[in-house]
Symmetry: none
Subunit: 213 residues, 4 copies
């Protein structure tokens, strides 16, 4: 499975891959703790390499951000698929919320990263992969009479976004706070005989409010 072009530079590639990952990790740490305005110099320093090395791996700051978002996608998609496969659909639903929110809480401040204008594509990608799993989940829960009628995957996305704001609130017990409002919303979701007014959005993509750089 290894072509000849892979053989010679293998060592170097390993180094390069290590650098690449170090940069993504550093970006994760800094983007999410200090926002989009961190300098590439700082990210490179945090990763222990030179800025120019960052540019060898990523065409620009934006690409680095996207590589970092890619990782989040992978995790989020896995969570949705495991939730859809859960025996108990209600348990699947609560698991989905709980695990996704934990993922978001670990990336404190990600909210404004996600809000960056050029993450629209990423959001689309994420929805494309997560929504099928959520649709499965909702269909099963609805059949079991566990949720309100008319709910779509996009509704879950909205709810998730709403709850994500809770992880940004300064408190000694983020988990407890998330549980409080997750309960509130889940209680609203499980009124099996009351349809919600209106329709879900076609996508949860948000207006772009944070500037590029």
């Amino acid at each position: 499975m290894m072509s000849t072009t892979d053989v010679a530079p293998r060592r170097l590639r390993a180094d390069a891959a290590r650098n690449r990952q170090a940069l993504i990790d550093a970006a994760q740490r800094l983007f999410t703790t200090r926002g989009l305005s961190v300098t590439l110099d700082d990210i490179a320093a945090e990763a222990g390499v030179n800025v120019a090395t960052a540019y060898r791996n990523f065409a620009n700051k934006r690409e680095l951000l996207q590589a970092f978002l890619q990782q989040i996608s992978d995790d989020a998609i896995r969570i949705a698929e495991e939730a859809a496969a859960h025996d108990d659909p209600w348990q699947g639903l609560t698991d989905f919320f709980a695990r996704t929110l934990r993922l978001m809480a670990e990336n404190r401040g990600m909210h404004d990263v996600v809000t960056a204008s050029y993450t629209a594509d990423w959001m689309q990608h994420l929805e494309d992969h997560v929504n099928p799993a959520l649709q499965t989940l909702l269909t099963r829960a609805r059949k079991a009479g566990l949720v309100r009628p008319g709910l779509a995957p996009a509704d879950l996305g909205v709810v998730l976004q709403m709850l994500a704001t809770v992880t940004d609130i300064e408190t000694p017990d983020t988990a407890g706070l998330v549980r409080r409002y997750l309960t509130l919303v889940l209680d609203g979701l499980r009124l099996a005989d009351k349809k919600l007014p209106g329709t879900p959005p076609s996508s949860t993509a948000v207006h772009t409010a944070v500037a590029q750089s």
Copy 2:
């Protein structure tokens, strides 16, 4: 008792006030559509004046932002107080949410503006004025058996923040979308006999992730 010399300077002030207001309006437009990173040059241009004129009116970018936030405060406080004075407390509550959310929707993308570290004071000021009204409202609603036990003003703040994210979603019918999720949450709030787990946060101040400048 009003001489012409009193009138004359008022004309000048009118011009200056017009510029000042133009700057605040421009700031509102740009801060909320393009985020905190807009340059003062851009804001001044949008207002049709020179940057230095902006600096004549506001010591720095931050002061301009705060002047803009001040206007929002005034509106928000009035809404809370009128809601508290409503005959029907449940109607007062729904009015409060609906009107505040409309205010937020008009200031699209304000979420990340509010998240800026130096708006902490502003948040405090806002809570100090709004919370008493909300406390009145909640007490009355609770006495009428209309809401879950144990709710505090801060809970309403959190709920509001959660719903505010909905106004950021790209959709042809923001109002309809807001109604959809407001219904969901209100349905969760009115389960008069189910206490929510945990406690409300001491303040809805959020972690600062967006950069200063």
Copy 3:
């Protein structure tokens, strides 16, 4: 002695003259305490008028500085002439130094004001008026065998400049310090039989080191 054109606006002119003088006084205070970089806004404020009023009286900052220097000239010239008229030439000489240095000490920091490039003209003007008096003084002192041979007015200017630096030294007793070094230099000057090497400069104009604005 008052023409008709003087009659009508007399009151206004009095006001204007007052403003003009207030500006010069303010300039004196601020130029000499805070250096050339004070803003015209600050000078106007110190004078209790608006900047635009300053511009009605002086074409630009530079002209204001020159008006202020003019006042100094007047004082300095008077001191030199009185010294030249003194009965005892040595006493005249020491008086000249002592009084001029006091004038300089009162204008603390004037050194860099004087150093401004565009004060060359002013220096020339000053020398033109002071040097004749100093020449008289030196001739008389030399005849009385009180000073070294070959001294010129320009030498006294240099000595004055040298001693002026002493007034810039931070000390609780500026006067005492000035006396110390004035003694040192006067002792050097009165060695009646030792000629100094070289010749005096043609003018004590200094190289321009401080920038315009």
Copy 4:
């Protein structure tokens, strides 16, 4: 034990060092001919590099100024120490003055640079290193009956400062002019039996009159 990998970076450093030195030299030229208000843009241009390169080497304008002052310190300290070690103390004294004044003359206009408020530290450093040498010198000269009683190192500093003003005077023969007034002052200093009135200053730090930026 020096591999080629050791050599390579030294070449780079050589370039950087060249730029750094070019910046210091440019700063020397411009600070001393045009004063503290020269822009970093101008200094960078004079050095043939971009402003940002200046900022790579010096955190800000002030640091560049200080780097330039550092060089002067080094020279001045060496001069004082060599003077103190001179066999003939009087010769040592005159050498000290002559050489230091030449150093100052090479840095034409440095006077107002030294006057900047933030060079206080530098002055302190300089005095700390130079004064011991001067004390030695004075003690030896006094024992040999060559100078007035009661002289302290600070007196020599003051005298130096006084004479430094001479180097600012526009003349075809700066050296001759310096010699003229140095003679005058030295003649004053060597009156072995006349004590000077007053006491030397505790430090020759000057009042700050020149603006910061």
